[in-house]
Subunit: 374 residues, 2 copies
């Protein structure tokens, strides 16, 4: 049997009906930009829906159109890879609120002008709702599995909880069932950094061609620290100086870690829309699965979120992840146990902190392959 | 015997000689603003030199002239208090580079204009050098103890290492012998936030009366998260909403933790100079005691820093402090052991993270009193 064509296909679906949102509004003309890899089988039963993280997008294996870099999970998705596209039809959509083709604050509102801050505040469930509509359009009643890391894991949880009949399995990596006070705090710093930049201009910067790049870079720098472990930063940078043998007694980037962070901040502004960053971080901060499913005001038992689910679950955390530490995954595992769902949970050891889910962790590959191929 | 007058005395010393700096320059006309509490005894042997942390100042017990709030350690310093001013003559000076009366970037340079970014980059040892000059002026050859938390602890270490004959004891709380990559990274985010604010204007904002308040507020917010523990934030805020019963689906401070952080950021700008924040964080990032004492380029054994010391040491860390975690204090304790210095080291349990050194931790009071009264 010949290997299936691994060429990714990129397309955009425009939803025919307005998308109802958790905030009460309905959003007309929603575009969902997505990538597929592999071939949907005749039974339409081999789809795997990947959810991307905060700053990622649908370019799982294709070259990123703005950076020219390989897709964010090209090491793991492809023929005979961990997520084997000879067997699975992999789908990944840019989230609602994003800036890579799906409808977001940079998209035109019905009046033809960019939504900017008139865009409604969305939730993780709203993002998932747009992707359920994509599955509908693709004629996929039930996927083999949903998979996501970080914010992708939140979407995987929300999908399994709110559309329990639409998946047979959910793999949730380095994620949480609700954003903690510290998580919210870091995001709020980023949002304030963006909004403090005069070029943000109340979100109305699209006509100028120049957004709040300085503010967005600072937001990215602050967030980036939370993606790495203290130990990992020490191993990688320590107190090593950047292209110099002595401190300069100035405010240049003397230390490698400063230079690295500045680069992370600046390069991010080339590929990401500041308003999207505001809306997506807000959605993450609002995420509280127990509350989401109870429809309530902070109440709700997390176990109840999985009442109607018959899916298998797999939870993975990393021992050096302090953004969504192992305790968060353990809380989810306990809730799944309480609801009687089949669940496996593993904490993996990896030095990279939260970013481990995107990096080379062979044990993670084994967990993913083992879970998908059950 | 009548209790000594607890009234704090505030004064400013102007150094008669230029202050030599680690960067190679000499700084003329350095002012050292300081507070004393208690009475220097006839033998001039009962002085305790307190070093303040990054955003504190000399107002240990006196009302802060800008905020009107009690001094930062008024709960612990006073007659019959933990640091008993019936017995000890307590001295605390605003650090070099600060903005509460000691010479810093807002001070006039010899040309009469504010130094602004022409102010030389200083080090923790430079800060200490200014305070040694203050002891000289006060006729104090040797203090009973030096005490400091956080950046104050760095100064206490630097003092004991570089002026070993000038103290009989050093108490170092929630501190480190060198800034880690993660420590530097968080400071760099803060500096970039300040420098990204157009009102920073290359540091030249004193004439306008309006500094980079937005940038400084963001810097403070980012730093403030590192002062609290994840657990402490959860206990204090969780996901509680601020003065509302439902999320607003907007970008107001829905969550209490957002409101709290915004307040922390804004109120900081009323009392702190942004350029001082740049210079003091830079000094902290440069701090590496082993390197400082070896005079070298990142080399040096930490134990060698204490070669000439005959002082007693006490190190205190907090189990929830992730800014300067217990491992940092343990490293110092090992170095002191290796150098044969008498040292006690205790990790205290407290829920407040790094800020524990300023908050109500009775066990800390017992450690301080026990160590001082030996």
């Amino acid at each position: 049997m010949a290997a299936a064509d691994p060429t990714p296909v990129n397309d955009t679906l425009v939803l025919s009906a307005p998308l109802p949102l958790d905030g009460g509004q309905s959003l007309p003309g929603v575009a969902v930009a997505y990538e597929t890899i592999g071939t949907l089988n005749a039974e339409r039963s081999n789809a795997v829906l990947l959810f991307h993280a905060l700053t990622m997008d649908q370019h799982v294996v294709s070259l990123h159109p703005k950076t020219g870099k390989p897709g964010w999970w090209s090491k793991s998705v492809g023929p005979a890879k961990v997520i084997d596209t000879d067997r699975f039809f992999v789908i990944c959509a840019n989230v609602l609120g994003g800036c890579m083709g799906s409808t977001g604050p940079a998209s035109p509102a019905p009046d033809g002008q960019p939504w900017a801050m008139r865009f409604p505040v969305i939730t993780i469930r709203d993002m998932v709702r747009a992707q359920v509509a994509l599955l509908d359009a693709l004629g996929i009643e039930q996927v083999h599995a949903v998979i996501g890391g970080s914010m992708g894991g939140m979407q995987a949880l929300s999908f399994a909880a709110n559309w329990p009949e639409r998946t047979r399995a959910a793999l949730v990596i380095a994620s949480t069932a609700r954003h903690s006070a510290q998580n919210i705090a870091f995001h709020e710093v980023g949002r304030q950094a963006i909004m403090a930049d005069p070029k943000w201009n109340g979100g109305d910067y699209y006509r100028t061609g120049k957004g709040p790049e300085n503010g967005l870079a600072v937001a990215r720098m602050a967030a980036h620290i939370t993606y790495l472990s203290e130990e990992g930063m020490h191993e990688k940078f320590g107190r090593k100086l950047q292209d110099r043998t002595e401190k300069t007694f100035g405010f240049d980037a003397d230390f490698q870690v400063e230079s690295y962070l500045r680069h992370q901040g600046l390069s991010f502004t080339d590929r990401f829309d500041a308003n999207s960053y505001l809306y997506i971080t807000r959605a993450m901060d609002y995420f509280d699965l127990a509350e989401e499913v109870s429809g309530g005001d902070g109440g709700g038992r997390l176990a109840d979120a999985f009442r109607a689910s018959t899916a298998r679950f797999c939870l993975v955390s990393f021992d050096t992840d302090w953004l969504y530490p192992t305790a968060e995954s353990r809380t989810i595992a306990h809730a799944l146990n309480a609801s009687g769902a089949p669940v496996s949970f593993v904490e993996l050891s990896a030095p990279f902190g939260h970013d481990s889910f995107l990096l080379d962790v062979p044990a993670l590959d084994r967990v993913i392959a083992g879970f998908l191929n059950q």
